[in-house]
């Protein structure tokens, strides 16, 4: 670990990309993540990274396609509306199996909405906002330190699976400053992949990057291959953090900033004699369904906390599969819930007379 620095989350992402040997960054300004492009415009070129402000998010993601397809380690970043514009490109990249990191510093939607922090893009990131059956590997940092760490991991996972990796964090994580230390990372280890279109360069067979398989039989094979890969991710890459779950009677599930708030709510609850615990998914896809299912058998009820109208909530319910009531607390439009209000909601769930029977269907 190197020196400890105080940095914005967005800057930590940019600096981590530089240290992870990212060769190209293509992006378009949008609040609350423009610092990534700005930081790299300042520091990228002299440290050997190609940094280009594209004319749009669509151009950005397709530059990523080209550069990743040619074997370079590349990254782009944007925020909600800009990420929506990338959906076609992401679907292409997923199908062509190109490794890259795409950062979404989520703001409040839908529409132009607000620039305040939100987790409203969970579905888009996890279920696939683009067309067809594909998955991004989605990482959800909760601290500025993780903003940096998951960039390194993201690039490695992208290479390992030939899959786009999304880092999904809300605007507050992008804007806030915390301590961060960057890991030592040997950038020379990464080689240009064999499948990349680098020019034939003596190779007998040419390399082709495409997502077109006009014959259904072939396209189905491509899909089966992708699905197999996603199953492997599900098997090997699930990451989560648990807080006081050993003896928990009530389980909170939350990711990113919400998880930090829920963490404090757990502390408040424990202070008030309620045995609460927290599971924080770090990978949103693959989702820690098995672990949540196991915990569901132990607890009396589950509360999902998100800065949206209830998106991860569905994955938690799928994991619970009916063994325990799963409830939801969320704020929208850029509002961050306070630990106290989450605790209040938890209390309502705990006191049996007020436990909501409604299952949001």
């Amino acid at each position: 670990m190197s020196e400890i620095l105080l940095m914005k989350g967005n800057e930590a992402i940019a600096e981590a990309a530089l240290r992870a040997g990212c060769q190209g960054y293509f992006g378009y300004p949008i609040t609350p993540q423009s610092e990534v492009l700005e930081y790299l415009s300042q520091h990228g070129e002299k440290r050997g990274m190609v940094v280009l402000q594209a004319e749009s998010e669509i151009a950005s993601i397709n530059m990523i396609y080209g550069a990743a397809g040619a074997g370079a380690r590349v990254m782009t970043s944007s925020s909600s509306p800009g990420i929506s514009l990338m959906q076609e490109g992401l679907s292409y990249i997923a199908c062509a199996e190109l490794p890259c990191v795409v950062v979404n510093i989520n703001r409040g939607g839908p529409g132009l909405g607000t620039i305040q922090p939100s987790q409203g893009d969970y579905f888009q990131a996890v279920k696939g906002g683009g067309h067809g059956d594909y998955k991004l590997l989605v990482l959800a940092p909760a601290t500025v330190q993780e903003m940096a760490d998951l960039v390194f991991d993201g690039f490695d996972l992208a290479d390992k699976y030939r899959n786009p990796v999304m880092i999904l964090a809300d605007g507050a994580l992008g804007q806030m400053m915390e301590k961060v230390a960057f890991r030592e990372y040997d950038v020379t280890k990464r080689e240009i992949p064999k499948w990349a279109t680098t020019g034939k360069n003596g190779r007998k067979e040419r390399n082709i990057i495409t997502s077109l398989h006009i014959k259904s039989e072939e396209m189905e094979k491509v899909n089966q291959h992708l699905q197999k890969k996603y199953c492997e991710m599900q098997e090997h890459e699930v990451r989560f953090q648990e807080v006081q779950t050993e003896d928990a009677e009530y389980l909170l599930v939350a990711y990113g900033l919400s998880a930090r708030i829920a963490h404090k709510s757990v502390q408040i609850a424990r202070d008030n004699g309620i045995k609460a615990g927290l599971l924080r998914p770090i990978t949103l896809f693959p989702f820690p369904s098995n672990r949540i299912h196991t915990l569901c058998k132990q607890v009396r009820a589950v509360l999902t906390v998100e800065m949206n109208a209830g998106q991860m909530y569905e994955d938690v319910r799928l994991a619970a599969n009916g063994v325990v009531p799963v409830e939801f607390y969320g704020r929208m439009g850029g509002i961050i819930p306070s630990p106290e209000e989450v605790y209040e909601r938890l209390k309502r769930m705990v006191s049996p007379e007020s436990v909501s029977q409604e299952v949001k269907i």
Binding site: I58, A59, G69, A70, T210
Partner: protein
């Protein structure tokens, strides 16, 4: 009139003066009979072969009839999203500036959905070659109107002829691009006659040479045919091209290097 002829030619007394370039794969082209895409493919590969850059050339295919170009060109290739070939090519060239990079795009791809990418790739002066196949129609999707469809020309989405009052006149994007300081060499060629094919090849050759010298963006518009979309025989289509397309899209260099 049917005729029968018997020719017995002793090929071994002869030298080959023209043959299929090795840089084309053996795959049979999927294009309709007489389609200009095939000619341009061949010319590109002849030039790549002659310049001996096969090993470091990367092409980007569009979405359009030439979506399968990578099946025919025996070089490393990418297939980009509709309209974004020049953005993908930018991505490649920026991270690997020593490679020779070209995009190959139709009029729908380059001048409709891809307009922003086209203009900005050119304005930034990306050091790539953009080959623009203008056949005044959306060939692949079955003959819809393109930005370059001629006035009064009938297509499946302009069944009464393109009405300029309704959708404007053909977009001469090549002329626009020539105005941008980022473009280095901008020319318009055709492949409808042996003479034009020779000129077209020269334009492609020059473009690759400029790129090897590190110059800015080269843009080669190829006025081409679409016998299927135009509902003509190939021979008719080339004649129609001459008579109708070329007056609107006159051949020749539009911008030549100022530093030569």
């Amino acid at each position: 009139m049917n005729a029968t002829a018997e020719l017995d030619i002793q090929f071994k007394d002869l030298d080959v003066v023209y043959e299929r370039p090795d840089t084309l794969t053996d795959a049979r082209l999927h294009y309709c009979p007489g389609c200009g895409h095939g000619v341009v493919h061949r010319l590109l590969m002849e030039v790549v072969e002659e310049l001996n850059i096969k090993d470091r050339t990367i092409g980007v295919a569009p979405v359009g009839c030439s979506v399968f170009a990578y099946n025919y060109l025996d070089i490393d290739m990418q297939e980009a999203a509709h309209g974004r070939a020049s953005a993908a090519a930018t991505g490649i060239k920026r991270v690997f500036p020593d490679k020779i990079v070209f995009s190959y795009q139709g009029d729908g791809d380059l001048a409709a959905i891809g307009t922003a990418e086209t203009i900005h790739t050119a304005n930034r002066g990306e050091k790539i070659l953009v080959v623009f196949i203008n056949n005044a129609i959306y060939g692949m999707t079955g003959g819809q109107m393109a930005p370059t469809t001629l006035d009064n020309m009938k297509t499946s989405t302009s069944p009464f002829g393109r009405n300029p009052d309704h959708v404007g006149h053909p977009l001469k994007i090549t002329e626009l691009l020539a105005m941008l300081p980022g473009t280095y060499y901008v020319t318009r060629v055709a492949v409808n006659s042996p003479r034009n094919v020779r000129i077209a090849k020269k334009a492609l050759l020059k473009s690759f040479e400029y790129q090897m010298q590190g110059k800015g963006l080269c843009f080669v518009e190829v006025v081409s045919n679409c016998p299927s979309g135009w509902k003509m025989t190939p021979v008719e289509s080339n004649k129609w091209l001459e008579e109708n397309m070329l007056p609107m899209f006159p051949l020749g260099d539009i911008k030549v290097p100022s530093d030569e």
